[in-house]
Symmetry: C2
Subunit: 322 residues, 2 copies
Amino acid sequence: MKKKIVVLGGGTGNFVILRGLKKYDLELSAIVSMADNGGSTGILRDDLGVLPPGDVRQCLVALSDSSRLMRSLMNYRFENGNLGGHSFGNLLLSALEKVTGSFEKAVEEVGRILFIKGKVIPVTLNQVHLKMILNNRKILEGEDEVYLSQEIEGGYKSIFLEPYPKVNPKVIDEIMNADLVVLGPGGLYTSLIPILLVEGVSDALSKTDAKTVFVANLMNRRGQTTGYKVSDNLKELLRFLPDDIFDYIIVNRKKPPKALIERYKDEGDLVENDMKKDSRVIESDLLGQLAKVSQKDLIRRNLIRHDSKKLAKEIIKIVDNL
Amino acid sequence: MKKKIVVLGGGTGNFVILRGLKKYDLELSAIVSMADNGGSTGILRDDLGVLPPGDVRQCLVALSDSSRLMRSLMNYRFENGNLGGHSFGNLLLSALEKVTGSFEKAVEEVGRILFIKGKVIPVTLNQVHLKMILNNRKILEGEDEVYLSQEIEGGYKSIFLEPYPKVNPKVIDEIMNADLVVLGPGGLYTSLIPILLVEGVSDALSKTDAKTVFVANLMNRRGQTTGYKVSDNLKELLRFLPDDIFDYIIVNRKKPPKALIERYKDEGDLVENDMKKDSRVIESDLLGQLAKVSQKDLIRRNLIRHDSKKLAKEIIKIVDNL
């Protein structure tokens, strides 16, 4: 029987891991954060009252077995006029939500159009916004404000979804029936924690027989997790999870070229592995392939990102030993 | 061998006839006017520099064998915000034109997504605008201005596409290889003539061995063809076509209820058949089914429109005798 893998997240990190796992013979589900309110997604939420399509779109494209053209179409962004900045895939999901009257049906329908391998499941079907109250009493409203803030490392009093959402019941089923649950990589405050804030998710994670993996980020986010090591990232997540939740922690070993780290300086610093001796930690070269170009082009053409194939391989090793 | 039917037009008239013919075992092609510049289509042309998607979209939906949901989606119009008024199908065609770099490829791809039966072929792939110089020296720029004008019946000096377009070569092939070519129903100045204005179309129509049918409109357009009878409509078209072009002229016989005619008064009057004795004329009840409702609801709930099934039946009778 196929092993059932459930991936929790949102945004680019989720895309990378799903794209890699898609190539294996697994039963794959992506549980997606629904707190995005920036850019095209934010405008659609405001103007049309739809649920946020952006993160769901990325997961659908990651799991798609359709033509390259269809995938390009889904990610295409209009460049000019009133449509400027809107991603076509977001418009598709929002139009389908309007036509069917249900975001879930819209997601299913796009899944069919894109021949996706696996399932994409919104963590909640309620309209929610992320809120964060900082120690300096500033209130960050919406995931976009949280994303841009550089004051989070000064500490926060609380982070929550408003209004407090009901979990999509399918999410609980997926977690309870999983063989492996993967959390991360992804923005702590913008992708991972917003999923754990939904009622019942953390509880299901503690009750399920599934093994649980945390994939540590490569980079910290400046002003949010500056200088955080793997253990700090983990500690932060464990504010929202039972202490003994993770069976495995996957960490990158390969350092990116100095010039590239330098270029990222304003965005954030590398996450250092201070847990090498922890038996749960799997250390491996997970760094995305760098284009072979001149030193000058190196920093222009490359990103510090997980390699989807390398990351998938490490996860599959775990799966094979379950 | 299947008979090859080529339908020329644009807009609602084209939709009705294609929807009816689609149910028969034919090789069906729709050649579509590319002069539309109103509404959602006009905004997309202006903002993105794309070719006009609106009329093509209607033909694709008419020929679609996909689910009702997909057809609803294609015709769905966003209601609020910057997207307000845009039809989803138009956005799909425009995004695909941008992603593929070709409007033709975009049309083919949507055809695949919608499982269309037949082909949809833009009459030209050049960016053109309809222009009309009236006898009173007023210049109407763009199909939208022509559509709204009530001064056309005062006469016009010229009607043309600007810049003068090259015909899509596939259009000539389609006409030359057709068994039957159908022109109309549709707005004389906004759907039918804009196709005949493209270089080579009229020439191909005179050279082809295909039989040619004109489907007369049910209604005149006020201020444009007010009081026109069938022969007047025909005469107007023949300014752009060889005199002996039509082998058949299909005309509706059934009068709509008076209350409905009354309601249409501001838009236009009924086209009277003054060619009953012409051997080319086929007269039949072609009126769209009226919903059985109270007299008050009759005019609110019904439109004066061709019935796609009845119209297709008359065309099939011709096809069967070819």
